[in-house]
Amino acid sequence: MGRIPRAYLVNRLITLGLTVFIAATLIWIIPRLSPVDPAEIMLGRMAAGAGAVANSEEILAQLRANFGLEDPLLVQYTKYLWNIVTFDFGISTATFPTSVASLIAQALPWTLGLMILSLVITFLIGNLLGALMVWEESPNLVKVAIPAAMVFTSIPPILSGLLLMWVFAAKLQWFPLTGAYGLTVEPGWTWDFTLSVIEHGTLPALSIVIVTFGFWALGMRGLMITVQGEDYVTLAKAKGLRPRAILYRYMIRNAILPQITAFALKIGLLIAGQVLVERIFAYNGMGKLLYDAILDQDFPVIQGVSYVIILMTALSVFLVDLIYPFIDPRIRHEARP
């Protein structure tokens, strides 16, 4: 891609690298500052399972050696950094011989699927509604109804999720209460399984959609107001183009671009919100994995999940930054904002 100036690319890459590095370092340092010893937690779990553990001191020492806790801090740190680059987060202490990476690999597709689906839906609905709010031709009902619906924008998806769960799963029983697919279906590319996944995914996706579309609608409204007064819109009207054509081809097309940058800033909050939605719906994604790990004090999993989610966020921001000037030729790549 020859069109991206090298200085800009380098600048973005450095920011990306620094973000990931700082996040990884924070994740590593924080547990080491705390008085909690992962080896003791592990031993505690063994004791809880067996009633009592003989020669616990030796086991403790062995566990510490296994976790690499005896090495000098600098060695531990460099090892950790290397491991994280290769997505090796060690072994889960709660589900002992399973590696954290494989746990994450199981959970990640669910999270990504749910996220991309709900994002696309909200982006489309939100921007269209925001545009309709400003458009002169839209019916009055739209202009009254949308601002009323926007009140929901500020509510985090976990609250809307609880409400939807209660109404549609607990009371009406139209949808299942928790899980990502039914207990009776075998995972695989079968019709039953797909149906079950859709049935289970509707409420989590919906709870994200109804509270986030307003964010896009709001932004779009502001941008449309700016576009509305532009000369090319006046000219298009004077030419007698159909109002609908003006809306889609002249107004929305020009207004939608800055919305994509807004997306880059919002993605962190979106992902964090979704983690919580997954937790309340017990949806098989990263959120549930994280929640279970917190309950079990399973540090390797907590670290791994946090790192992967932060990496996802940073990568999306990086990509949006790179792609954006291609979509909007008015913006040139600059080394500095």
């Binding site: 920011t15 973000t19 976990i158 700016t226 962190g268 983690v275 907590i302 946090s306």
Partner: protein
């Protein structure tokens, strides 16, 4: 418009409209938003005076009692001794709300206030000093704005265990200074070139004078907007932590009440008042903050005001 003389009522309405537009701060959204938040604060204050706060302790009443007029699954009716019912361990919901709701708001406000102060300092430093300092601050805020606070705090709290309200606010503050920093830096850079700042500089005003007397007043609507947005982020993060079972363990917070309700299967047992009331209160809080933010947008961006005519 006809030339017919306006009636008195019309005249007055028009005058009022003109006055309202003269003072952008007299904005209905701003009023409603502030009113909702104030309502929660007043609920907390009056509740502590007129209701028995000791009812927040476990076992102070029959567990899982519904509000009066409803029945729970065991067929028990509610009593007026517990107007909002009781939760799973026999705590009075009303007392719980009275104690918990202001706590959530407090965390949000404190975190945002600290973040704001840091942001103002760094933003001005960055914009004024320039050079290396600017580079460092700019890159650092660019980097930190991408890291979702919830996840770092999850790592922190699962390692350290119980935290207090103030500690939680401090932790969250570490993630809400970036946007004010960037905002102020950008504004300072553009304002530095503007006529009135040049003028002040030529007339020998000190840097502090230029910063606080010439520039800061122009930034007020932006700063308020950023402050409110950060309060929202802070409360969302705090509630997120609480719902994951982290956050303060011994002090009642709205998120913690929801956490306990979900874990006890309140949804299936139809104990709607247990999770529903804190959910509703949080929703009111967020709607209030949103209204304030929308109002502030109209204050700082007059183009939006025309729309409501």
């Amino acid at each position: 418009m006809t030339d017919a003389p306006l009636t008195k009522a019309e005249d007055r309405r028009r005058a009022r409209r003109i006055r309202r537009f003269d003072n952008p701060w007299l904005n209905p959204k701003l009023f409603w938003g502030a009113g909702l938040l104030l309502g929660i604060v007043i609920l907390g204050l009056l509740g502590r005076v007129f209701w028995d706060p000791d009812l927040v302790f476990v076992g102070s009443a029959m567990p899982k009692l519904p509000p009066p007029g409803f029945e729970n699954l065991r067929g028990q009716g509610g009593t007026f001794a517990h107007p909002l019912g009781t939760e799973g361990s026999g705590r009075d919901m009303f007392a719980l709300i009275v104690i918990a709701a202001p706590n959530s708001l407090f965390v949000g406000l404190l975190a945002s206030l600290i973040g704001m102060s840091v942001g103002i300092t760094l933003g001005f430093t960055s914009g004024f000093v320039g050079g290396r300092t600017d580079d460092v601050i700019r890159v650092l805020s660019d980097v930190m704005i991408t890291i979702p606070p919830l996840l770092i705090l999850v790592v922190f709290q699962s390692a350290f265990g119980d935290v207090g309200l103030t500690m939680m606010a401090l932790l969250i503050a570490g993630f809400v200074w970036q946007s004010p920093t960037r905002l102020i830096r950008a504004q300072v850079l553009s304002m530095k070139q503007s006529g009135y700042v040049q003028m002040a500089r030529l007339s020998g005003a000190s840097t502090a004078h230029i910063m606080f007397r010439e520039m800061l007043p122009n930034l007020v609507p932006y700063l308020f907007g950023s402050f409110i947005a950060n309060v929202t982020t802070a409360i969302v993060t705090a509630v997120g932590l609480e719902v994951l079972g982290l956050g303060p363990q011994r002090i009642p917070t709205l998120g913690r009440v929801i956490y306990e309700a979900i874990n006890s299967g309140a949804l299936i047992q139809n104990l709607w008042w247990w999770w529903g009331i804190p959910t509703l209160l949080l929703a009111v809080m967020f709607i209030g903050l949103l209204l304030i933010n929308l109002g502030l947008d109209e204050v700082s961006n007059p183009r939006l005001r025309k729309l409501r005519l």
